[in-house]
């Protein structure tokens, strides 16, 4: 199956400060791709740039193609057709992502009118069907209510319904569950996984929650300081992360079983884009870093096991796993 979206050499800078450095990323038709990394690593910026949703002070270079259409710096009408039509996007805080002074029903039908030409009763019927589909109880009775009259979880369901209105080929979900309670998070993840299957829709799931990513994605890209540092199938990457950063993200998560020991945080903080370290951007926080890492930046290269990796001294492949783990956590 061909690629739905191809991102090549995409760079973004804000007021001359680069925040995204020549990112290459493909999403296949119907694929679920996870994007993980700490805040400020460029996960969201990648897709906001692709859809032309960044503020005008952002400079974007490179290419994002959707089929034959080039999206980077495309004219506004072309982008407006793609947004919500072929690529829809939902955001982190559902309560503030819906317009507070417009009834949710009208916000739904607006999308239906734009992308499917539905008006009046037809739009209303379809909006109600979508609200049912995402599990809004009593959609008919609550069609004319305002966003503040719904809970956070329900607002996110409405956002999802609105995103489905244009029957998109790809849904970008930017931290869709981060602001929600754990039980509601589970519901939304379940809903996204189910809808993707039913609608044969591609999904880009942006999250810093590795657990959530594991549940809905097939492939995952780990980003750090505006670059992809490791990429591969979820099972492979999560069973045996090879970039010390990926590994560090896993080790930092407390566990629900096993002994209650001290956690293994990644020391330090994400570098300031104004002041990126020389060489590998992760080297100052990396326990494996050698001299080379502080001087030269490793390329993202395809590995024997199929994954892509940007690390000069990666953790070993299968086999020597145990000793590595000790080294990392010590």
């Amino acid at each position: 199956m061909g690629n739905l979206v191809e991102i090549r050499n995409l760079s973004v800078s804000f007021d001359g400060v680069p925040v995204l450095h020549s990112v290459d990323l493909q999403v296949a038709q119907g694929e679920a791709l996870g994007l993980v990394g700490e805040s400020g690593c460029g996960k969201s910026v990648t897709w906001l740039a692709a859809l032309g949703l960044l503020p005008s002070k952002a400079t974007i270079t490179g290419s994002v193609t959707l089929g034959q259409t080039e999206l980077v710096n495309a004219p506004r009408p072309a982008l407006e057709n793609v947004r919500g039509g072929r690529i829809a996007m939902i955001f982190q805080d559902p309560s503030s992502a819906l317009n507070p002074v417009i009834q949710v029903g009208r916000q739904m039908t607006e999308a239906l009118k734009l992308h499917r030409g539905l008006r009046g009763n037809a739009a209303r019927t379809e909006a109600l069907r979508l609200m049912d589909l995402v599990g809004i109880p009593d959609a008919k009775g609550r069609f004319n209510l305002y966003p503040h009259e719904f809970s956070g979880g329900q607002c996110q369901r409405i956002m999802i319904a609105m995103a489905l209105a244009g029957e998109p080929d790809l849904l970008i979900a930017d931290e869709p569950t981060t602001a929600l309670d754990a039980t509601i998070q589970a519901q939304i993840l379940d809903l996204l996984a189910r809808l993707r299957e039913e609608m044969r829709m591609g999904l880009v799931f942006i999250s810093h929650d590795l657990g959530a990513v594991a549940q809905v994605c097939e492939r995952v890209s780990v980003m750090y300081a505006g670059r992809i540092v490791e990429q591969g199938p979820v099972a492979q990457l999560f069973d045996r992360p090879r970039h010390p950063y990926t590994r560090g993200l896993f080790d930092a998560i407390p566990r629900l079983d096993g002994p209650r020991t001290l956690l293994a945080p990644i020391p330090g903080t994400v570098p300031d884009p104004y002041n990126l370290p020389m060489g590998c951007a992760f080297s100052p926080r990396c326990s494996h870093a050698q001299d080379f890492c502080h001087k030269e930046r490793p390329e993202l290269l395809r590995q024997r096991d199929g994954r892509a990796l940007a690390c000069a001294y990666p953790l070993p492949e299968a086999g020597a796993h145990k000793t590595t783990m000790e080294k990392v956590t010590s």
């Binding site: 949703l53 506004r76 407006e80 992502a97 819906l98 317009n99 507070p100 417009i102 607006e110 956002m159």
Partner: protein
Amino acid sequence: MIRFISLRLFRAALTVLAVMTFAFVVLRMSGDPAQVLLGPDVPQNVIDDFRADWGLDKPLWRQYLAYLGAILTGDFGLSMRGGAPALDLVLERVPATLILTIPALFLKLSIGIPAGIYAALHRDSTIDRGVIVLAILGFTVPSFVMGLVLVLIFSIQLGLLPSGGFGTWLHAILPALTISVGGIGLLARFSRSAMIEVMGQPFIRTASAKGVKWRDVVWGHALPNAAVPIVTIVGFMVGSLIAGAVVVETIFSWPGIGRLLIVSVSNRDLAVVQCILLLIAAVMVCSNLIVDLLYGWLDPRLRAQPAH
């Protein structure tokens, strides 16, 4: 809803009463009308007669009660100069003031709001900076300075418009312009900041992300949200339709409420001053009431809030 409105009405009435009381007390503490009106050389018995005629010899609280009682029956008292009913004197001047303030309000709205919105949408552009500078100039330069500058330019230098007086519509242009300048600046600034704030909200990004045309994002999604702060300022401007021209009417010798107020204050013409202040307070309070009701209509979140 009825509970809400009646509560607001009650508070409005309280405000008006407070203004009335304040005006009543201050006016009577700040000088003796008999002295001012009759001049310094009048014998004491004439002064005493005058005070007895106008009830000024009674204790303050009795005067106050009598005043309140009269107001409730629609009697606003008589002018101490000439003895005409104060209400008639005041109402006679209202049209002259409105001839200035209503066109000025129209100018404020039609220039201030669009300029502010345009500046917000083209943030940090040359036009945006220009709007900011002009707006600050507009509301920091006092109206007597602004009035004189306009007179200097349009009457003295260009000789296009009369520098004062009352007669043709040409006479109204400079004073109306002077009144509007500050409001235009104020509205431009408020509209700009309200719009900038709204345009940065996540729901604007949502609207763009679902493919809404830029124009509809601005008009359909952003503007209704920016309306609340703008309406607050506009409400204040509507409230000062009567009182907003005091200085300008004096500069341009315009026979409106403002000039009547100045003259009456200096003459200690108690009934007229009180009547004007009451009118000003009533208009202000009414426009506040309307703004309060508009809030609920503009923003559904405010409907659910308890009325303090």
